[in-house]
């Protein structure tokens, strides 16, 4: 990472970044929030089709689900996806497949969704149809429903349509409490570096960092809002949603600016877990400079370190879950 930062390699890091705000385009605001009812639908089905361990015979014929449970939006989405048949008047229509085949498709879809989520890739409905459902498009609704039930019962995950507009699904944990559990295993996340990069930008600027500025910095790492990354996946989602949900960042609209722009601030968890001195050390490492090259920030970091030492003498260095290993 440090090798790529040659062009932004000095204390004018802040200045550079703020210059680029002017020419950068504002980030697109996060996807439309899914109406709460959509979540309920997929998980809360009270009369699920027979559990996955059952033999096929009792499975329901591919009929539309009871409409009180499905919000219109989901139905439309599924229908849109499923309805791309070319029904010709001459054909009587394909025979419904054996229930066992639908069950198998549901299992394939379940794995597909799990793997996509594991790789932090976007679960896109048209991809689901293309890669898994294939010729069973007409029954995709029932397949989807069965998959959701299995995911909920076995994994405790909700397959939720998060954006009707982009037809994206995501797997949401249904269990409480929600924590950053990767940290529970002290996983060496490359996210740490990404997060520190953003936090240090905010710190150096001394105020919120516009989304455009953040992207200019991430560009150095070869990250773009529209490109999926092999490690990070959907970077934009990661920084505007996940890090925010985990309280490492705050992502807020800049007031009185049209068209809308957003900026990042340190989140409460970052304040608790990450010290300014750690940020200075990070900057020093990345830009191969002495931390004192950012004199006022360094002074702040020193003061904070002193305050921390005085507050809790027995703890020599603050331990935190992000950098701990």
């Amino acid at each position: 990472m440090s090798e790529q930062s040659k062009d932004v390699c000095d204390p004018n890091f802040a200045a550079e970044a703020s210059n680029s705000e002017v020419c950068g385009s504002p980030g697109v605001p996060g996807g439309p929030p899914a109406p709460a009812s959509q979540a309920a639908t997929l998980a809360g089905l009270d009369s699920p089709p027979p559990g996955p361990s059952d033999a096929p015979p009792a499975s329901p014929p591919p009929q539309p689900p009871s409409d009180e449970d499905d919000p219109k939006a989901l139905q439309q989405a599924a229908e849109e996806g499923c309805a791309h048949q070319a029904p010709s008047a001459a054909q009587p229509g394909p025979a419904p497949p054996a229930p066992a085949q639908l069950v198998q498709k549901a299992h394939e879809l379940m794995w597909y969704v799990l793997v996509k989520d594991q790789k932090r890739m976007i679960i896109w409905f048209p991809d689901m149809v293309k890669d898994v459902i294939g010729s069973y498009k007409k029954w995709c609704r029932s397949i989807l429903r069965r998959t959701s039930v299995i995911l909920a019962r076995v994994f405790g995950l909700h397959l939720r349509l998060t954006s009707l507009h982009t037809m994206e699904f995501s797997l949401v944990k249904a269990l409480e409490p929600e924590e950053l559990e990767r940290v529970a295993l002290s996983n060496r996340m490359p996210m740490t570096g990404l997060l520190l990069m953003i936090l240090s930008l905010i710190y150096v600027k001394g105020r919120g960092a516009r989304e455009s500025a953040v992207w200019n910095v991430l560009r150095i790492l070869g990250l773009r809002p529209w490109k999926k990354h092999s490690t990070f996946g959907d970077v934009r989602k990661l920084i505007t949603e996940e890090f925010v949900q985990q309280h490492y960042l705050k992502y807020q609209r800049v007031p009185h600016v049209e068209p809308p722009e957003y900026e990042f601030f340190w989140g409460p968890r970052a304040n608790r877990e990450i010290t300014k001195m750690q940020i200075m050390e990070f900057l020093a490492r990345v830009f191969k400079k002495d931390p004192q090259a950012w004199p006022s920030r360094y002074r702040e970091a020193l003061e904070e370190a002193r305050a921390l030492r005085e507050a809790a003498p027995p703890v020599p260095c603050p331990r935190n879950s992000v950098s701990e290993d």
């Binding site: 361990s53 009792a58 299992h107 379940m110 594991q118 890669d131 994994f155 405790g156 790492l221």
Partner: protein, 288 residues
Amino acid sequence: MFTAKYMHIYSKEDKEQHSFTMQGSTRRTGIMTDVHRRFLQLLMTHGVLEEWDVKRLQKHCYKVHDCNAPVEKLEDFINNINSVLESLYIEIKKGVTEDDGRPIYALVNLATTPISKMASDFAENELDLFRKALELIIDSETGFASSTNILNMVDQLKGKKMRKKEAEQVLQKFVQSRWLTEKEGEFTLHTRAILEMEQHIRETYPDAVKMCNICHSLLIQGQSCETCGIRMHSPCVAKYFKSNAEPRCPNCNDYWPHDIPEVFDPDKDREAGLSKSNRKSLRSRQLL
């Protein structure tokens, strides 16, 4: 009927923990509580985990959901979950790394052929590159295929023409997805890939695959007897010849010519790891 009996298990609310024993078919009586669900979620998130991490994960899940319940023995815990996963054609599989004998666990899909499992993530020519690399690895003496040899296959790939530069990146994609492991410019199968693909590999390359004389499973890397040619995984060698001053080939009784490795000791390994990290600067591990 059949349906109704099992509907009851699945429609009960999650908070309850019901242990359900039935005469004769314990296989279907999976106990799925939030503890198990969270465990599965996290195992899936990580893809592949070492045994020590798995134990910690299990404890973490108990702590979060059910502090008072005794932590079940890992083997039973996993068998319980697997009994539920069976009908979904997935399984928590336990394996052992071929180089240093670490026990690892992964959630694997048993249903489809492994190459098609990767199909939605990789293009046709990328899948073919993997196939070629796999063949080179299986045919090699060491279990490693050199980057050069793999890249030389680019002209033979199906699908869109791939340049060597691209192929290098695709190989890195395989490493990141944990299908391959790289060591000094050479590639071998990641333990996770061996776990998932063993069946497929044995069926597809029945003549070319090597097997371990001790554990009788697929062998990619290992030691071999120079007289009769039988092969053994390094961790299998370690266990078989443990505290044996004069190791001899189990097949032809000739003197075993290789270094006998140490049996993997999880406690020693953790200590070594911890002391290493105290000495190493914490910073260098934070970098991307």
